[in-house]
Each structure stands twice: as C-alpha cells, then as structure tokens.
Amino acid sequence: MANYSTNEFKAGLKIMQDGEPCSIIENEMVKPGKGQAFNRVRIRKLISGKVVEKTFKSGDTVEGADVVDVELAFLYSDGEFWHFMNNDTFEQLAADAKAVGDMTKWLVEQNVCVLTLWNGSPIAVTPPNFVELEIVETDPGLKGDTAGTGGKPATLTTGAVVKVPLFVQRGEVIKVDTRSGEYVSRVQK
C-alpha cells in the first residue's frame, strides 16, 4: 500500500494508525510564523469506530490503508457469518459478527449494503438508509390514534425494536431509517 505525505491529507483519506485502518475526518495545518509546521488531524478508527486526534510533523509520511467500499446484496446468515453477493459478478463474501456489529438488525435479504473491506476482508457493513420490515409483535393500539402522540415498541422480523405510533398493528410492514433507528411510515402491501 502506498504511503501518503501530510500534504496529501484530506477528509476521506484512509491511513494506518495504531495498527488499525482509519479514515481522516478533518485535517488542519498548525504553522507558526517561524519553525516546524504540524498537521492536526481528526481520524475515525474504522474497526473500533473511535474518533481520535493525532498530530503529524508536516512533510512526514504515513502508511496508507487498503480500504475500499463495495456494494453487495445481503443473502443470508448461517448464524456465524453473514453472506453477501456482488450482483454483477455473483462473487460471494462473508462478514463475521464483529464486522456486522449491531447492523444485523437492519439486514434484509436482497438489500444492497455497503461493505467496507480492509485488505479484502469486511470490517464494517452499512445497510441502506431506509429498510422495510414486518412487525411480528406489538401491543394492540387504539383506533383513531394519530402519529405523534407517544407510541409503543414494536418488534420486527429481524429482532429490531422500533417505537411506532399506536395505530400501527402486528403484521404490517413499516419503513425505518437505519441511521437513527426511527419509524418513518407504514408501507402499503
């Protein structure tokens, strides 16, 4: 993997730090009128998800991280691995529980997800921003209730629990925003 000089630093660049692939969020030059310049950089560690600040001497080089994002369709889980497929090449890839994390609750068969690969292996899975899932369990609500008056928990087919309006019933399919985990709307079947 190529090395990068600090003057190539910009948001989105993937570099290695502390043995972990990281993505640069923000790069700021600290340059006194006299003397050495430094780059103060905010980075997100792509495995732990931690955001840290690091300082580099301007002009130094840093090892790049071979990190790419690919779009793959979710196929199924065998309990240990989550299997994805490239819809163009039909090539398959398996992500382990560590890579999938708590995104497992938003994985719907056939949905195209973004897999972040480090040296070819998945380290993170990002589901589509919106997914449609069926409610398998929720308390019966009151007729005539309108959205925005509190709500109740509903369990979806994947095990995800989402707060829904009182009028939404078991067996209905709802649209959920996976970034916030919030109910968006009912979906007409």
Partner: protein, 325 residues
C-alpha cells in the same frame, strides 16, 4: 461546497471590507504621527529566504532563466534601506508563502512590518501593544511570559535544563494528540515547537494579548542573542484571541553572524530534504556596510482584522481568498 457559479463573489462581506479599509488607514495614520516612513520594497526579488520552514513561490522573467522569488516578508529589503540610512520605516503590503493554507493562512496575505532605530525589545513591544489597542478597541493590557516560564507553567518542564528533551517528551505523553509524534522526535527545537504550537499556545488566555519573550538561542531566526544570557535570543511573539499575531526581534546586525545563520539554515534545509536556497548576498553586504541598532516586528494584518470582526477563518476577511482568487 463552492459552486462554480458563486466563485465570482467576494469571500468577505462588504461591511468587513469597509472595516478592513478603516484599519489600513489607522495603521498608516499611527506611523505617520510617529514620523515612521512608509516604504514599499519589491515583492519580486532575486533572492528568497533560507529559513528551512518557509517556501518561496518563484517565477521567471522572459529572457532570463533565474527563478525570481515572491517575498515571504519584506525583511531583507527593509534592512538594506535601514543600512542605507532610511531611519525608522514601516511597510504594509502583501507577502507570499507557499504551502500555507488553513483557517489562519492564505498563500497571499497582508503583512505589517516595521523597524525602529535605537529601540530595545520592550520599547517595540510597547509600541505594538499601543497599535493593537488602537485597532482592536477592547484589547486589555498585555501579559508577559518568558519562553521558560511558559514551559514551566503549562508543562512543568524547564526548556533550558540539561535533560529537557526527555522531560518534555514525557510531559507531552499526557496530551494524547501529540504523544506519538513527541515520542518519535529527536530534534529538540522541533519538539519545543510542537509543545509551543500544539499544547502551550492553545492554553494561553485568548482574552489577553500575551507576549512570549526570550526564545531559545537555537530559535533566534534573525534576532541577536542576549548580552546577559547566551541561552536566549532577543526575540518575542505576540498571541491574542487564539492567534499568533506578531514576531519581533532585536535585530542581528553582525554580518558575519548573519552569514553563519544563512549557512546553518542551508545545512538544515539539506537535512530536511528541502530544496536548496541561496543566501541573500545583498543583505550580508548591507550588514557589512552597517545596519544601525534597531528592533523590528512583523504582524499578520489579516489576523488583526479577524479579531476585530470576530471571524474564525481568514477567508472571511479577504476580498478573495485563494479559492476565489
């Protein structure tokens, strides 16, 4: 993101530009009243700087293969005028530095620089403080800290102690963002510059103009060394509002020492794999002729405007920042 169709518009608003113009006039008035002569030395000159951490932009003239340097400051030319008998002079104009773009840097910026014959550093700091109070109406009285006091106060390290390098490396381990780079650094000046720029400077009270004085002799740049303490240079910096505003010297007048510092800069450049830079032989010749004892300071004028207007980014005080130039 900047849309191409918006790129014709100024990066500063018009009210800021009016205030900027008023401040330019105040500066000229300040020096007119003090009988300091305004000069405008060339921005395009045969020699650039040797300072290992500055980069000249260069260009060529037709019929001539020489790389002409856009000046990073008017210092050398102004000193040649002083040696020619100009008396006290100031310059308020553009300077250029390559590799400098940030919220506080634009590659083309406005520098205010002046030289006072017979002044010592304290007199020059007093005059700078008066100018700052004139331009930044609410500025309180300045605070003074020596370089040594600043390191002792914020890092509990004496930068002049024998074991200061390892003590400073250790102290910096408490600051997560610089811990790695501090541990690896073998050069003491670089380590101290890291501590100053990334740890001490952010902790200075932004509400009070603070002069840091008595820089280490190894970071003298173009200042003379102290007569009473050879460990320190007669150099100061002014910090205010979280910004480095000014850098001043009791000027080095000894031509031979100047020549030695040029050579030391060139060796440092080569160690850092920076492109070589020729020493300005005309400055050395002027010093050989005789530079009167004087003190001089350079002030980032755009940063003064940032403070006056409460702006966080230099682009907000420039008619057209580099991305719209």
């Amino acid at each position: 993101m900047l849309q191409p169709s918006d790129a014709w518009q100024p990066s500063a608003d018009l009210a800021t530009l009016q205030l900027r113009a008023a401040m330019l006039r105040q500066v000229r008035d300040f020096f007119y009243r003090r009988n300091v002569l305004e000069v405008d030395t060339p921005l395009l000159a045969r020699f650039g700087v040797t300072d290992p951490h500055l980069t000249n932009l260069t260009t060529q003239l037709s019929g001539d293969s020489h790389n002409w340097a856009l000046q990073t400051s008017p210092e050398f030319a102004m000193k040649r005028l002083l040696a020619a008998g100009s008396g006290c002079i100031y310059q308020l104009g553009k300077a250029f530095r390559d590799d400098e773009q940030s919220a506080r840097h634009n590659p083309e910026f406005t520098l205010l620089e002046w030289y006072r014959i017979g002044f010592d550093l304290k007199q020059l700091m007093d005059e700078l403080e008066q100018l700052v109070q004139l331009l930044l109406v609410d500025a309180p009285a300045a605070n003074y800290l020596t370089y040594q006091q600043a390191f002792q106060r914020y890092l509990q390290v004496d930068p002049f102690a024998v074991n200061s390098h390892s003590a400073l490396q250790q102290a910096l381990q408490s600051y997560a963002s610089v811990a790695d780079v501090a541990r690896r650094e073998t050069d003491s000046d670089t380590l101290q510059q890291l501590a100053m720029a990334c740890v001490i400077e952010p902790q200075l009270d932004p509400a009070i103009p603070t002069f840091i004085t008595h820089y280490p002799a190894s970071q003298a740049a173009l200042a003379c060394l102290s007569n009473t303490d050879s460990r320190v240079a007669e150099r100061f910096e002014l910090f205010y509002g979280g910004l480095e505003l000014a850098n001043g010297y009791h000027e080095l007048t000894d031509a031979m020492l100047q020549q030695q510092r040029f050579v030391a800069d060139q060796q440092q450049r080569s160690l850092l794999s920076r492109p070589p830079a020729s020493a300005d032989t005309r400055l050395v010749a002027a010093l050989t002729h005789g530079l009167p004892a004087c003190a001089g300071v350079a002030v980032g004028f755009d940063r003064l405007v940032m403070l006056r207007c409460g702006q966080q980014h230099i682009r907000q005080v420039l008619p057209f920042a580099i991305d719209r130039a």
